[in-house]
Symmetry: C2
Subunit: 173 residues, 2 copies
């Protein structure tokens, strides 16, 4: 199937927001999504963007049952390792179910790695839910490894009232 991978513009934010919600539903977490098209426009396409995004697009004749021609995305940003230096972090990689198995996911991921390499990065990082074994097999086939299993790295988070208290410099209740 014909498709193209290109950089997202602010005009893509409606479709990015739609696909973020589709991905969250797949991950059984759609109630967690607070992001909107408008927030994406501000955060990704102003003078100081917080992320970059790639879009997988198919020609008009291959559009989805619901009429979508933007059928996948990869959202990423640059991070930093104090051991290895510049790194690229892939926050989301998503392809709509009816377009899977045709190379779009792989093409999106490769383009993220390419963009990272151009920016001087030496590694690509991302997170994966432990029950998502289908995606894990794909990533492992691309040479990725699980540093939580092999090295013991755990993700920690502070948000909500705990984050507010921390930022205010007040002791926790």
């Amino acid at each position: 199937m014909q498709y193209s991978i290109r950089e997202a513009t602010s005009e893509d934010c409606k479709d990015i927001a739609r696909m973020i919600m589709e991905l969250a539903s797949y991950e059984k977490m759609s109630d967690q999504v607070k992001i909107t098209q408008e927030v994406l426009e501000t955060d990704g396409f102003s003078n100081h963007p917080f992320f970059k995004c790639l879009i997988a697009e198919v020609p008009e004749e291959h559009k989805s049952k619901e009429g979508h021609s933007k059928v996948g995305y990869a959202l990423y940003f640059y991070t930093y390792s104090t051991w290895k230096g510049r790194a690229v972090y892939m926050e989301d990689l998503y392809v709509m179910p009816e377009y899977r198995g045709k190379g779009l996911g792989c093409a999106l991921m490769r383009r993220v790695a390419q963009e990272g390499k151009v920016a001087g990065c030496s590694q690509l990082n991302f997170a994966l839910l432990d029950w998502n074994t289908g995606s894990r097999d794909f990533y492992v086939s691309q040479g990725c490894w699980d540093i939580t299993d092999s090295l013991g790295y755990h993700f920690m988070r502070c948000e909500g009232s705990a984050f507010e208290l921390l930022a205010q410099g007040q002791p926790q209740a």
Copy 2:
């Protein structure tokens, strides 16, 4: 003990590089550190910085046995959650052993949260090694929780020859 927390400048990179190595040694990973003072100067203090850094400094009369007055640091950058929006990621939080238990680590972490809040972030994220129970207790006391244990998020990485092949768009061996 008197101390101050301030933004790092490129003049601090020698001390940041020293403390990165001290932290990696504590984590039993010092052979992994490829970063140098010069790389930190370029990556953190040019027109497009890849990270931000805070320094904990003590007055001359409290300097360490080896003569250091820069005795702790927090290195961080902004990331993005497609569910919650802007986030701040704390890559490293370190205080030299002889200055621990005096509030410097907590002050550094609070300042990272404050900077994040000013930038519009709603969460602070970081990674922790599973055997580092002392640090875990400190973070949990600050209201942080382990999203690897509770939600099943694993860190995945692609680097070295796998990253090169991915960026070149070639199939893995």
